[in-house]
């Protein structure tokens, strides 16, 4: 499994994603909380962090987390997401050979937190990484998910003078947090 993760990490980093890996959920949570602190998350528009509901959160007390980080919101609305600096969601799969994350994104909150904020923190089970697109579509497809979202690196454009510029309509940073303990659907 380690080689698949290595490929995934290398490919994701090649397209400007940041990749971190933690053995346990509490360690991953610590990283995220420290990250939010560094990004000056606060209870004010443009400084929120919006966290879409996900299996990762089932291990923690949301109210307590919200208490620890003012501005961390678990009720994701259109306005909260639009005013958030950081969006957090859990992705269901990774694709190694393109460094891609994949999510059943039918629930609108999942899309809001990964499209509108400046930074997207993407949780994914380290064991949920498959080798390629074919392998992925063998596990999940449009029959199971009405909005299947593939994310490869942050939002980018080269439309002005072909100069690669990160963060046009979507996030300018994609922070991938792989968690061994999350297992994943594999």
């Amino acid at each position: 499994m380690s080689t698949i993760f290595d490929t995934f990490k290398a490919r994701a980093e090649a397209v400007s994603a940041e990749v971190h890996r933690f053995p346990t959920k509490p360690e991953a949570l610590d990283f995220i909380l420290q990250f939010l602190q560094k990004e000056n998350i606060a209870d004010a528009p443009e400084a929120y962090a919006a966290w879409a509901d996900c299996p990762f959160l089932s291990s923690f007390d949301k109210a307590q987390l919200a208490g620890r980080v003012p501005g961390l919101k678990f009720e994701v609305t259109r306005q909260i997401a639009a005013d958030a600096r950081v969006g957090i969601s859990e992705l269901d799969w990774g694709i190694a050979n393109t460094g891609t994350l994949v999510q059943d994104a039918a629930a609108v909150e999942k899309r809001l937190v990964s499209t509108l904020p400046i930074i997207h923190i993407a949780l994914v089970g380290a064991n949920a990484i498959v080798p390629d697109l074919g392998a992925l579509l063998a596990r999940i497809g449009p029959r199971q998910a009405s909005y299947l979202a593939f994310i490869t690196g942050p939002s980018r454009t080269a439309d002005i003078e072909r100069v690669l510029t990160i963060g046009v309509h979507g996030p300018e940073r994609l922070v991938i947090v792989c968690v061994d303990e999350l297992g994943g659907a594999n």
């Binding site: 259109r78 809001l112 579509l137 497809g141 490869t152």
Partner: protein, 710 residues
């Protein structure tokens, strides 16, 4: 060609931003595309894509029906129509029924094809393009210059000016700031829009799914924030199954932008909840606009295998000079010429089809395996049938079709040129013709054509004989090339036969769409060349070789002249290019290169037909190296020299800068000799170097090798 069109070409050529940006991009693309495909069997991949798309094109009705059923079962509404007006009306009505004032759009070529924005704006609805390039183009009231990078022709200064004038004063030409500015301004539009319009890159029949590919993330917002989503999808986007998505999604980003995958891919199947919990209205319009008709056309059906990656634009030596604007408002480049002929009108392709120099670069990279230059020739043929040829063309081809008259005129031209030919070049042509040679010297017609010189060559009688097909340039301009071929073959113990009735190979007529003329040339040549019972018919001109080996058959097939096919195939089996034959003879021990030679530095120019149709780029290189030359490869060795037969006469303004690049690449190798296998390329490149006053020698491989054998 109208003056207006020529003016457009010249405007483009004189725009340094456009040619600079496109030129740099095409150079970078060539390398990054190869890198993106590392570890992937491109041939296998594109064969798969071609099969998937060809299957879809022959089952549009069935797949559209299946798609509709499955998408509607998931809650979408599907409209299938051939009529662009119905598409426009449907969207306008939908907007009105739902009180929509503002629309956001992610990129959709299908909506550009039917000029949807203009229609909706006229009806008082605000329509915002959200792809950054498309937005810039919309704000500056221009049309896209490239299918994937619509604003590649604009500098950051121009973009800042457009933003300042059209949106908010005071924008600085700083790219990250301009991008941030666009993000902020368009974010408001996304949040306020009542309806989002997207295209789709793939539509999957078995599930009723849409696959949408973007880098900026705008399609995700267009399909998430507004309560209504309308996808306008050309029916050629249909594929049968989810499995079919894999090869297309593997190739599209690599061929399009040399990415392994775009930042975002959305696979949408039926409506999803809106942010207020209501279900989204999802409307999918399967737009035909003559695609079904195209699918029934035995030739053009192939064009429906296009996945709209625009790689044919990126490798085109003409596109990188003129950009997209000269091609029209919607689809550009090689594939654009074909699509314009169908989605707009055949007549609309009349001028732009002439831009194709037939180099075949696009055929090598097309992930849909489309023979784009072949289809452009077919357009040319149909246009010639529909509109007839010009009086000059008619007169010229009447001559070409009469060998005796044609050759008689070439002999007479030798006398007429006397006052202007010096040192083997025509330096000054009278009056208007002088424009045509401005960028290079043209060769003088030879004092004695090859057909006359041949009679004077004393060949030993041999058991084995080959037929030599000279072609007009070797026969009347470069007879020394023909003599070199004879001398080398004689060394191998082969006697050369030159059937006198051989005539023009028909390429000039075929490439002008005059297939009847080309067919007559083919028939005359078949008669002359099949008379002798030989194993090989050899030519030292790759264009002639391709004509004899492939085009005779193609021309007869196009015209339905099946009677001629058996003979054409018989000839095709015998035809071989010079270097490939010599390599065979060397390998068979029939010819031996002198050993231990340490010769000069040399560089090699690949002729389009030799490299891409005959796949014979290695034989001449191997022979030259074995002969003792040090081969110093030039940059873009296989890029067209700009000759393209009569292309350089019809569009000298494009031919000249293509040649200029070639000369620069040759000079940079510091080689004093450049080899090539095509007399047409010799004419172009030697003429260019002569005009430049360069000392670099230009020779046909046969001339270089003439004394290289023991």
């Amino acid at each position: 060609m109208r003056q207006e069109f020529r003016d457009q070409i010249n405007t483009a050529l004189k725009n340094p931003n456009l040619t600079g940006a496109l030129g740099r991009f095409s150079e970078a693309y060539r390398i990054s595309r190869v890198k993106a495909y590392e570890g992937i069997d491109f041939e296998a991949l594109r064969t798969q894509i071609a099969e998937v798309k060809a299957y879809a094109a022959s089952h549009f009705d069935e797949l559209a029906e299946q798609f509709t059923k499955n998408a509607e079962a998931r809650g979408a509404k599907v409209l299938r129509t051939n009529d662009p007006q119905k598409v426009r009306d449907y969207i306008l009505n939908l907007a009105r029924e739902n009180g929509v004032q503002q629309i956001v759009k992610s990129k959709s070529m299908a909506t550009e094809e039917i000029h949807l924005n203009k229609f909706l704006e006229k009806a008082g609805i605000e329509v915002k393009e959200t792809d950054l390039g498309e937005w810039i183009i919309q704000l500056s009231h221009q049309t896209p210059s490239h299918m994937v990078m619509p604003a590649i022709h604009m500098t950051k200064e121009e973009v800042a000016e457009v933003f300042s004038q059209e949106v908010e004063a005071g924008q600085l030409p700083d790219i990250p700031k301009l991008v941030k500015f666009a993000r902020g301004k368009l974010r408001v539009k996304f949040l306020n829009a009542g309806l989002g319009i997207s295209g789709a890159n793939i539509a999957v029949a078995e599930t009723g799914s849409l696959v949408i590919v973007t880098n900026e993330g705008n399609a995700r917002l267009v399909t998430t924030l507004p309560k209504i989503h309308v996808a306008v999808v050309g029916i050629e986007k249909l594929v049968a199954s989810v499995d079919d998505v894999v090869p297309i999604l593997t190739a599209l980003p690599k061929s399009g932008t040399a990415q392994l995958l775009t930042s975002y891919v959305s696979m949408i199947t039926g409506p999803v909840p809106n942010t207020d919990g209501t279900p989204k209205q999802l409307h999918i319009i399967l737009m035909d606009n003559r695609r079904t008709e195209m699918a029934r056309d035995p030739k053009f059906k192939q064009a429906l295998q296009c996945i709209r990656c625009a790689s044919c634009l990126n490798v085109c030596p003409v596109f990188r000079l003129v950009g997209g604007h000269v091609f029209g408002k919607v689809y550009t480049g090689g594939i654009g010429t074909i699509l314009t002929a169908w989605f707009d009108a055949l007549k609309a392709s009349d001028e732009i089809q002439g831009l194709c120099i037939q180099c075949g670069n696009c055929v090598e990279v097309c992930p849909g395996k489309i023979d784009i230059p072949g289809l452009i020739l077919e357009l040319r043929r149909r246009l010639a049938v529909e509109q007839g040829l010009s009086v000059t063309q008619k007169a010229a081809f009447a001559i070409v079709n009469n060998r005796k008259l044609f050759h008689g005129m070439l002999r007479a031209a030798k006398l007429a040129q006397k006052p202007v030919a010096r040192g083997g070049f025509i330096r000054h042509l009278p009056m208007f013709l002088s424009d045509l040679t401005d960028f290079r010297s043209l060769p003088a017609i030879a004092e004695t054509p090859f057909r006359d010189r041949f009679k004077a060559i004393a060949q030993p009688k041999q058991k084995e004989r080959v037929v030599f097909y000279a072609g007009c340039l070797v026969d009347f301009a470069y007879p020394e090339m023909g003599e070199a071929v004879v001398k080398i073959l004689n060394k191998a113990g082969i006697e050369v036969v030159f059937p006198e009735e051989q005539t023009c190979c028909g390429a000039p007529a075929r490439y002008s769409g005059a297939y009847e003329v080309a067919a007559q040339n083919a028939a005359d040549n078949l008669k002359a060349l099949l008379k002798e019972d030989v194993q090989y018919v050899v030519s030292a001109c790759p264009t002639c070789t391709v004509a004899l080996k492939h085009d005779f058959i193609g021309t007869f097939e196009s015209l339905g002249r099946t009677d001629n096919l058996p003979e054409a195939k018989q000839l095709a089996a015998k035809v071989i290019d010079f270097s490939s034959l010599i390599k065979k003879l060397v390998e068979g021990g029939r010819l031996k290169l002198k050993a231990g030679q340490q010769l000069d530095k040399i560089t090699y120019h690949d002729s389009c037909h030799l490299k891409r149709t005959l796949n014979a780029h290695q034989p001449p290189r191997e022979l030259l190296k074995q002969a003792g030359y040090e081969l110093n490869e030039m940059y873009e060795a296989d890029m067209c020299c700009g000759m393209g037969g009569s292309y350089s006469l019809k569009l000298p303004e494009i031919s000249a800068p293509i040649l200029e690049r070639k000369l620069k690449n040759i000079k940079e190798t510091k080689a004093e000799l450049v080899a090539m296998d095509c007399p047409g390329c010799v004419m172009q490149i030697r003429g260019g170097l002569d005009k430049d006053g360069s000392a670099v020698q230009v020779k046909h491989t046969a001339q270089i090798l003439v004394d290289a054998f023991e």
